[in-house]
Symmetry: C2
Subunit: 229 residues, 2 copies
DNA sequence: GAGATAATCAAGTAAGTACTTGAATACTTG
DNA sequence: CAAGTATTCAAGTACTTACTTGATTATCTC
């Protein structure tokens, strides 16, 4: 019965997709690439690994088909090969948050205590934006803002936030967002703003989820029409 | 900066979910458990591995939270820990079919040439069932039928099909279904039926997808009301 | 309680993985 | 074409994984 071997190979091929996501470093890479394409050395810096090691992880992702790459001059830019990849990563996070016992503990160790920070869901934020009483802050690094952001958001990377508080209009609540539910930037931004007496909340998840939900986005170049909610 | 270590641990924990699905054998186990709970030796036989090895894979799945177990007498039954797990497995399959280059080739090697077999989507099948001109055949092993099947389906495991052809009413098309898109049983059933001159098609995916879509199902004991489509 | 069955555990082996270091390649700019 | 930058490749090491075999534990039946 050589059928067994064929079945094994088929399921190995299906599982190869999960296998390649089954490394924390590669998961971080996918989380970053869900914000838009990036060059190798930017990714390496983002995940805190050597360029050589990062390059090898990217080769893995490339071979398994989860990312594509393009060369521009001396730099090589990587991007997710399609929206299904970001959805898969979201499914992984969801199952982990439901079923991995120690996840809350690890999240608190990295993100700090979130219990004091109030959050908005995507639809709540959309409705508040329509009301006009809220300022939306994209606190990710600027290149990520440029490759796509919530329509109407202002870019203030969290590193520059403390110095740029004067730019914020008075009398408005600020809603900060970043990469996703396990991204620190928005938490940090909310804490900074509150320390200065500015009412602030964070978006529950991040930009990729907003985009995937068909809510209105823009890039530095063009503006998309509002999607169906 | 010890923040890096905390971030690494968090993403390792998120990725652990993908890692445990990243073995072809464990993926097969999840595919089987998506049909309902099973005992260790049944699973071992299903995936063609030793009981000891299967048990160890199940321990992995248990530790990572993807499955739960319960003891009944001398047997230990495993089941998926929630609907999110089946959804994750579906997301993995989808990304694989979109982006893994050699997948079609491997699928053909295992499943045979499918080009001659026509398929119905879930909604097409539901509509044909409402019309009453179609017989729906569940060709999975009987225990899987018992733990849940499409409402109105008849159980004829593919191994018994050739001997039970007389049971089928004349003048109807037969729609066969099994575990999912990479399950051979329905393909085999359609080929057998056609060889005997009975018009037959297969459901595009399988029982777990039908159930997840909220379409009407029953178990050997009870019948659920038709869900929203 | 003896015997049978189902599952797990423990130890061993072969193969694979993650990271490091240093060299090689590809392209750009002067 | 020489020098510089971005990336990949190759080789090495420490660690992990998948499977095997044989022994052990848990429960049921008589």
């Amino acid at each position: 019965m050589d059928d067994r071997a064929a079945k094994d190979e088929l399921f190995d091929a299906l599982a190869s997709v999960a296998k390649v996501l089954g490394s924390g470093r590669r998961a971080e890479i996918v989380d970053v690439l869900a914000q838009g394409e990036r060059a190798v050395d930017e990714i390496a810096q983002e995940i805190g690994q050597s360029v050589a090691n990062t390059s090898q992880h990217l080769q893995h992702l490339l071979r398994s088909g989860l990312v594509h790459s393009r060369r521009d001059g001396t730099r090589i830019y990587y991007r997710l090969s399609g929206p299904g990849v970001a959805q898969l990563w979201a499914a992984v996070r969801l199952v982990a948050s439901d079923h991995v016992a120690k996840l809350n503990e690890l999240a608190t160790a990295y993100l700090g205590d979130r219990s004091a920070l109030s959050t908005l869901t995507r639809t709540e934020l959309r409705d508040r934006m329509a009301g006009g009483d809220i300022v939306v802050l994209d606190v990710r690094p600027e290149p990520e803002f440029r490759s796509g952001h919530i329509a109407g958001a202002v870019s203030v990377p969290v590193k520059e936030l403390a110095e740029r508080l004067r730019e914020l209009p008075d009398g408005h609540t600020v809603a900060a967002y970043c990469r996703g539910p396990y991204c620190v930037f928005a938490d940090e931004a909310v804490r900074t703003l509150r320390r200065h007496g500015i009412p602030a909340v964070r978006l529950e998840d991040g930009y990729p989820e907003w985009e995937a939900a068909g809510l209105p986005v823009e890039t530095s170049a063009s503006t998309t029409p509002a999607g169906t909610s």
